[in-house]
Symmetry: C2
């Protein structure tokens, strides 16, 4: 029997519960009943906040996308040589992924055919495209090796970045940004930048 | 209405159908009914080949694991400096992933709690561990940069490699190893090795 508590949710705290459940059960596998049980409030209380689970999906994904697209507006992403901007975007994308882990995880797992999922996939492609343009520009400026195709380089870069969502778990006991495995998000971001741009091998 | 055809399956061809359905629907979401419809033969015909869907899962995953572990036995993975062996394993792991794409995809998606899934996850960790040992050894020999933690480097390397399963689709029309996007598996493997070890940036 589920314990129904008084609805003291804010839009953000309800969203946080919903996104956790979406990531655990998959969006398709999540019903309003599951959300009601996880939040400990009735379905009608949830409907007081949102029209349904698709609105929660859209809000969760928006939070991830807002964080990611904001990186592209930072001065480090707009000024200087393309390769420097690319490194800035790489570093900050890792940091946003780690800071907004559940929301970015939700975005990365979207696969479906609802309007919201199609919109999310289109926005994600748009972000990838913006980064791919930076890769191309950096290659044209002679700062990236010519023997790795720009499109392939972009895919491998995102492959490395996005894979962090599969193993990184924030350490809830420390609260100082220390990740499982003992790496802070700044350390992980720096490791990605070093690996992708300078390479692991000593020269 | 499903058309039931005469059972002309071999163990390998039935496995190929089952693995495709597992990857499309998820292993948990696949019933013997789904497999029967996809194969176009009756459930009892399937039971003539295997005891059930878990046996098909085990066989599919075994095929991926056999390919991956065989890489570790190649002379290029056993002889020479650790960094050279690591580069060999990286290159060949990418090639096996691309050659055995459905089977490796199945392995990478395993998350569950059946004996077979737990065994698969343990074997996958064992493979990762073997590569992590090579990373550590190469670092100890001074061939890998000291400012990226070996465990993190291993994770980022596999992040890059495994992400290929998300976008690579063999081009069935050419049959010459050309991938979607026009890259052969040798080209993709070389790009991964260059990116991870030498870095994208010109020096």
């Amino acid at each position: 029997m589920s314990t129904v508590k008084r609805d003291t949710y804010t839009p953000d705290s309800l969203l946080s519960v919903a996104v956790r459940v979406f990531n655990e059960r998959g969006y398709d596998g999540t019903s309003m009943e599951h959300l009601s049980k996880a939040a400990g409030i009735s379905k009608s209380s949830i409907y007081h906040h949102v029209r349904g689970k698709e609105e929660l999906l859209r809000r969760g994904i928006s939070r991830a996308l807002d964080g990611l697209f904001a990186v592209l507006d930072e001065s480090g992403a707009r000024e200087g040589r393309a390769v420097e901007r690319l490194e800035h975007v790489t570093r900050r994308t890792v940091e946003v992924l780690m800071a907004e882990l559940p929301y970015v995880t939700l975005l990365l797992r979207v696969r479906g055919n609802t309007d919201t999922e199609l919109w999310a996939m289109a926005r994600r492609r748009e972000f990838d495209q913006r980064v791919a343009e930076l890769v191309k520009q950096a290659a044209a400026e002679g700062d990236l090796r010519a023997d790795v195709d720009a499109r392939l380089a972009t895919r491998l870069l995102f492959g490395m970045i996005n894979s962090i969502a599969e193993w990184y778990r924030p350490d809830r006991t420390s609260g100082n940004g220390t990740a499982s495995g003992g790496n802070t998000s700044a350390e992980v971001a720096e490791a990605v930048v070093r690996t992708a741009f300078a390479g692991l091998r000593t020269h």
